[in-house]
Each structure stands twice: as C-alpha cells, then as structure tokens.
C-alpha cells in the first residue's frame, strides 16, 4: 500500500472517531441548524470594488483615432500611448487581430513609413509582425473592422448617455467626435475627442 493510502486510512479512522467527540456539540447545534435561514444574506456578499474596466497602462491602440482627417498626416499618430511619453512602447501581451476585411471608408495614412505607404488598408506586414523582430519600431494599429466596432460601441455608449443622436455607423465623424468632446468636458477629462483609455473607462467600454 502506498504511503498516501495509509494516510487516507489513518485520517479516515480519525474522522470516524470525531462524531463521538463532537456529539454534544452536534446536539447543541441541532436546534440552531434547523432554524437557520439558508437564503444568502446581503451581508454575505463579497466587497465590490469599483471596476475601471481598463487599467491605466492598458494597451490602447485606438486612442490615436480621432477622426478621418487625423490620418492625413502621420504626425497625428504620435504619442497617444498612455504613459509611454512619446515614441513606441511595445505592447506587453498583444495578439494581432484577425486579417481585416474592408468594410468602412477608413483610409490609411498616405504618407508614412515605406512598408504601408502603398496600401489602402492596413496590410498584414504592418500589424502582424511581432514588434520585437522589427528593426525600426512601428506602431500597432487596429484592423478596420475592429476599429469600426469600437467606434460603434462608443457611439452606443454616448447615445445611452444622451450625448449622441447620430447614426451608429462606426465612423469617427464630426458628430461623434463632438459628442465625445462634450462628454469629456462634462466628465472632467482632457477634452481631445479621442478614444483614450480614461475616456473609454468613463464610458464603460472595455478595450477589445
């Protein structure tokens, strides 16, 4: 017999003796047990901490997307990674989104780094290659579909909060940006019209 089995036997015998020892205790508890209300008490609930959805240093590749016009110049993409202080910071656990299927009228930057200069949508080489293997650091950008879905969710959230009445089209147009800025102003957030992490938190939108 294995040692562990012997232990089990020993423990089993010890437990078998327990009822004799605990009989008086058990009798004492019987009345109390019968009267116990088994439904959960409100005081039994665990403490609830405020959930901020996205952590302060969460990788938010969507923060840069302010409007269509912002993509005309590459400079508008600079330094929107929260806490990075400008330049590129490697995402800690980023898995590339699935290959994009163009659905919206989102346009990629026309003047930018060579690898995506000719593409009308974000090419796989830009997003899918792991940052560590690249010689010159490149920004990770969301696929069209993912971006459009996030904008739709932001539009819905703004609509629930009565800041937005336009259509839910997944496009960051002037109406959406204006609603976003109004919301940011009322919420005491930096008014930049961007889907930055603290704005998404205030809206209750988790970063995909």
């Amino acid at each position: 017999m294995k040692l562990i089995s012997r232990w089990k036997l020993l423990i089993g015998q010890a437990v078998a003796m327990l009822p004799a020892v605990a009989t008086s205790m058990a009798h004492a508890n019987q009345a109390a047990l019968a009267g116990v209300d088994w439904t959960p008490q409100t005081t039994d609930e665990p403490l609830v901490f405020k959930n901020t959805l996205n952590s302060v240093d969460a990788v938010n590749i969507y923060a840069a997307h302010r409007s269509h016009s912002s993509h005309r110049s590459h400079s508008s993409h600079r330094s929107h990674y929260s806490g990075s202080g400008g330049g590129y910071s490697a995402p800690r656990a980023y898995t590339p989104p699935p290959a994009p299927t163009p659905r919206t009228t989102y346009n990629a930057p026309s003047s930018s780094t060579p690898s995506d200069s000719s593409s009308s949508n974000l090419s796989g080489s830009t997003r899918n290659s792991a940052p560590s293997t690249q010689t010159s650091p490149q920004r990770v950008r969301p696929a069209n579909e993912e971006l459009s879905l996030l904008i739709m969710r932001v539009q819905m959230a703004l609509m629930v909060k009565k800041y937005y009445t336009g259509s839910i089209d997944g496009l960051m147009g002037n109406g959406t940006r204006g609603a976003l800025m109004a919301f940011q102003m009322d919420s005491g957030l930096p008014v930049n019209g961007k889907m930055d992490t603290q704005t998404l938190n205030a809206l209750g939108v988790a970063i995909p």
Binding site: I4, S5, K8, L9, G12, L18, P19, A22, A26, N29, Q30, L33, A34, G35, W38, L53, P98, R103, E145, L149, L150, M152, R153, M156, A157, M159, V160, T165, S167, I168, D169, L203, G204, V205, A206, P208
Partner: protein, 409 residues
Amino acid sequence: MLRLDTQFDIHNLPCTRLFKVIAPSELIEKGTAVCAGDASLSDFALWLDEPESDYSKQLLALPVDCLLLPTSDTAIEGFDGTQLVNPNDSTIVQPGDVIVVSPGSRVVRVLYRRGSNSNLLFMTDRCNSLCLMCSQPPKDIDDLWHVEENLRLIDLMDPGEEQIGISGGEPTLYREGLLEIIAKAKQIIPEKPLHLLSNGRLQSDPTWIADLKAVAHPQLTWGIPLYADNADDHDHVVQAPGAFSETLHGLYNLARANQRIEIRVVLSKLTAPRLPELAHFIFRNMPFVQHIALMGIENMGLAKKHYDELWIDPLDYQNELNQAAYFLDVRGLPVSVYNLPLCVLEPSLYPFYRQSISDWKNLFIEACQDCAVVTQCAGFFKSHSSRWQSRGIHPITATELGTYARRAL
C-alpha cells in the same frame, strides 16, 4: 427547471444559423469579447426589450444579423436581417445564450445557456450500445453536422470557468470530429473542464492512446459506465455482446493515455444486488479512476419500456449502496451518489450525496412542499411519475435534518 427550447415567429431567415444573444449594454461594455472565440457583429442576435424606443430604433443600423424582440409580437420595419419575435415563453432565451434557428421551423433551441450547470456539446444521436435504461434512445441517422455546430458553439460561449459536457449518443463514433472539438476547446476555452460521456468500447482500439496524448487536454474527464463485475450482467444491461470486454480494454487504454476517468453506475434491479462486488472489482482492477458515481435511474426513453426488469425501490438497495460507497471511500476512491431524492437515502450516505440533476430537467413534487431540505436535495427528473416513486418519499422535518447534517460534519 427551464426548458431548452421554445417557439418564436421567425422572419427572414435564409439558412440555419447560430446566434449569440446580447443586450445593447453588454455590447457597449464588452464588444465581441463577450464570446470566448472568434466572433463578429454578424454573429449576434441583439436583444431589444423596448423596440419602440428611439434608442432601439437607432440601434437598427448596427450590422448585426439578427434582432430578438422578447416583448413584441410583430417584426420591426427598417431592418434587413433575421428577426425573432413573439416568443411562446419569453423566459427561455436570455442575453448571453447561444441559440440555433432553422428556416421552416418556429423552434428556437438554446445550445448554450449562460450560468447553467449543464451546458453540453451534443455530438450525435447514434450509439453502438442499446442500454435497457437509455434515457435517450439512439437513432441510426447521419448527423455528422453536429461536429461543425459544436466547433462554432465553442467560439460563441462565454469565457470563464464552468463545466462543459460532451455527450450523445456515443461521441466516439465521430472520432475525428470529437478529437477536433477537444483540441479546439483546449485552445478557446481552456479554463472550462470537459466531461465526456462515452461507453468506452471504441477506445479498446489502442490507436486512441496516441491521439489523446497528442491532444492532451488539461481538464478532460471521461465518464464511462460500468454496470457489473462480470460480462454476463454488463452485456445484458447494455444489450451488446462483448461490450464488457471492450469497455475494460477501453478503460485501460484511457489510463495509458493519462486520461482522467470516472466510472458511472446506474442503479437498477439489475445492478443493485452486486453493487458491493462491483465496488470490489473497481478497486482491484482500476484503482486509477478518479471518481465513482452511483446514480439513480432516469425514467425516460427505454427505461419506461423496461420498467419491470429495471425498477427497484431505492429503499431496497440502501444496504448495498452503503457497502459499496464505504468500501471505495475508505480505500481512497472518491464516491458520489447522484439522482436520488434525499429522503430515500440512508443518512450515513449523506457525505456522498450530490445535487446532480441538470437544471433544465430538475423539479420537485408535491410531497416536497413541506420539506425542510429542498435546497439541498437533488429532487427529481422532470420525467418523474408515480410508478417510479419510492415508498420512502416524505417531507424531511427539521429534526431529521439534524441526523443528516451531523453526518456531514
């Protein structure tokens, strides 16, 4: 008890579809991350319980493929996709569930229910045994399409810990599909333990060993039925000559592949008398099993037809059940007693007692109205009838509860 299917008026459904039901608030908060695997907006059925509100009308622009209107009996104009309206029972389908709908039918089936204790990947209606008490008699049909449906269903489940069953029929009949499903579950929902019900006969083929080792799912348990310590009795219960030998070989092959195994015994007039011998047999010959479940019979399907051969009042096998359970327990093999009402159980068996009946087919009867322990009782199957009712059924008083509770100390 909440059924798994109901009927809706279904508008504009071009082909059979799986949808993840989602409320707008959850779509805002989580987006497609509400699904464990790959999903897009087109996989959603948007739950609109106030379809007349301005907000709901704005949402019609969303590129979801389906609207679900639980409170409305007419479809909304201005939406091109599928619409499910006018439910027979509006409580059956809820946000978070995954449903399947087909053209030409009003039936909406819930394939995955959020928060349920009994979500299942149903593999097939086919089986290579024909157990006397089978609750779901097999059908000889080609239903390989279940594999594709289950692969998709895995993507659309909620992420998070919960047990998922795999059942049939006999799931191993679709060997490639089953292995594919286990591999996908390992990839997409690794946090969910899998419980796979199989008669273990086909696993007598040793090529399973390498395949299962290759998949190496970290939390897969095989539930294998064994009804006797001898071939005659077992083969008679499963109505298949040679099944005992095949199942034993299958059990050993599963053990060779480092699989977790649970032995399941359905208690009937055929199995109860030799229960202590079966316990002895299991301990001697397969000490590697993780768990032995001794289970009350479900009076469904073929069991009804074989009432005379199967029915034994649970009161009349408590002695054998006690012997078997304690024999295994003191030898370090975990034992559970399933599917019996608590009031027919010997108090000494209470430590092994589990509330085991799946929530969608679990109910209590009139005698339970005054019972003090319904919250701890497994209750009855929804198929329960007076013919299958033990003479021991009675409301348990608070004093009696003390006898049971002391056993659990």
